[in-house]
Subunit: 219 residues, 2 copies
C-alpha cells in the first residue's frame, strides 16, 4: 500500500471515530436530559439531585457537568426541548405550523391556527413551567430564566401577530392580548383547575381574540 | 356606701378591665399582622422570621403564638385582611359595592362595577398572593391555603355572576370566564409585566366580558 493510501485510511478512521464519539455524546446528553425531565416533573426541582439523575442515566455526576452543566442548566435544556416539542428547529418561528399561518389568507383561520398551536404549547409546557417557577423560588439565579421564558413567549407572539391579517389594534397591544389570553396561566385556570376540555378552551380563545383583535373600536 | 353599690362598682370595674384587655389584645393582634404583612411583602415568606416580626411589633414570639398563631396562620390573616380591604365584613359578598351591583339594572354597568372592584382587588391582593404561592413551595402545609384562596375567589365570583342580568351562558361557565379574565394572573401579565394602566386593563376586561357573557352564541 503506498504511503498516500495509508494516510487517507488513517484520516478516514479518525473522522469515523470522531463522528462516533459525537453521536455517543449526543445520545448521552439526550438520555441525561430525559431522565432529568422525568425527575423534575415527578419530584420537583428542589427534591431532584444530580446524583439521582446520574444514576438514572447510567453516568457519573461529572459526566452530567461535562455533557450539560449544572442542575439549573439541566432545567434550561429541559424547557428548551419542551417548548420546541422535538421539532428540529432552533426557535418557535421556524416551526412548520408558522409557515401554515403565514400563507393562510383568511384572518379567522389564522387565529384558529395560532390558538391551536399556542394552547397545545401551553398544555405541553405548563408542567415544566411550574417547575421553573418553583426553581426560581428556591434559587434566585434562575429568576432571569423565568423572565426570559416569559419574554421569549412575548417575542414569539409579537412576531406571530405580525403575520395576522385584519388586526385593528396596534401590534404591541395585540401581542399583549394574545400573550394574556393564550398564557399558561389561563390554561391552568381553565384547562386544569376548571377542567374545560381543550377544544372548549380553544373555541373560547378564538372567539375572544377574533372579537378583541379584529373589531375596530375603542382599543 | 351600701353593699349593693359596692358590688355593682366592682362588677363595673371588672367589665371595664375586661373591655380594656380585649381592646389591648385586638391592638396587639393588628400590630403583629401589620408588621408581618410588611415583612412578607419585603422579604418573602421564607426569609421572614417570627422573632423579627416580634421585634418589629414590640412583643415576644410567645405573644405572637397566643395572639395569632404560627407563621402560616400569620400569612392567612394577612391574606384575609388584604382581600377584605379593611371593610368591617366577614366576606366579599357583604362588601358595600356588592349592594351597588345587585340593585343596578343595566347589565353593562353591572359588568363595569364587577370589573372595577375585581381589578382593584387583584391589584391589591396580587403581591400577597405571590407570597402565598412562594410559601406553598416552601411549606406543603400551605398548599390547601393557596387552593382555598383560589376556590374562595371562584365561589365569590359565581355568587356575583348570579346577580348579573343578561348573561347568555350557563352560570358555571360564566363564573369560570370571569375567574380567568379577572384573575390575579392576568393582572400580573397586563397590569404589571406589560405595564397597561389600570383603566386600560379594566376597559379591556369590560369589553371582553360583555362580549363573552351577553352574546348568545356557541358557548
Amino acid at each position: 500500500m503506498p504511503p498516500g493510501d495509508s494516510e487517507a485510511r488513517r484520516s478516514y478512521d479518525a473522522r469515523a471515530r470522531r463522528a462516533r464519539a459525537r453521536d455517543d455524546r449526543a445520545r448521552t446528553r439526550s438520555r441525561i436530559i430525559e431522565v432529568a425531565r422525568d425527575a423534575f416533573l415527578t419530584d420537583g426541582y428542589g427534591a431532584t439531585s444530580l446524583s439521582a439523575v446520574a444514576a438514572g442515566a447510567g453516568v457519573s455526576v461529572q459526566t452530567i457537568y461535562l455533557a450539560v452543566g449544572s442542575k439549573g442548566e439541566l432545567l434550561r435544556q429541559v424547557v428548551r426541548d419542551t417548548v420546541l416539542a422535538g421539532e428540529a428547529v432552533a426557535a418557535v418561528s421556524e416551526a412548520s405550523w408558522v409557515t401554515e399561518l403565514a400563507v393562510q389568507t383568511d384572518p379567522a383561520v389564522q387565529i384558529e391556527i395560532l390558538v391551536r398551536e399556542s394552547v397545545s404549547l401551553a398544555a405541553r409546557a405548563y408542567p415544566i413551567w411550574r417547575v421553573v417557577a418553583e426553581a426560581a423560588t428556591l434559587d434566585a439565579a434562575l429568576l432571569p430564566d423565568l423572565k426570559e421564558l416569559e419574554d421569549g413567549r412575548h417575542r414569539d407572539q409579537r412576531a406571530l401577530v405580525g403575520l395576522l391579517h385584519g388586526v385593528a389594534v396596534p401590534l404591541d397591544r395585540a401581542a399583549d392580548i394574545v400573550h394574556g389570553i393564550l398564557s399558561p396561566e389561563l390554561w391552568r385556570l381553565w384547562g386544569i383547575e376548571r377542567g374545560w376540555p381543550r377544544e372548549e378552551v380553544q373555541a373560547f380563545a378564538v372567539d375572544v381574540l377574533v372579537h378583541a383583535l379584529h373589531r375596530p373600536g375603542l382599543r
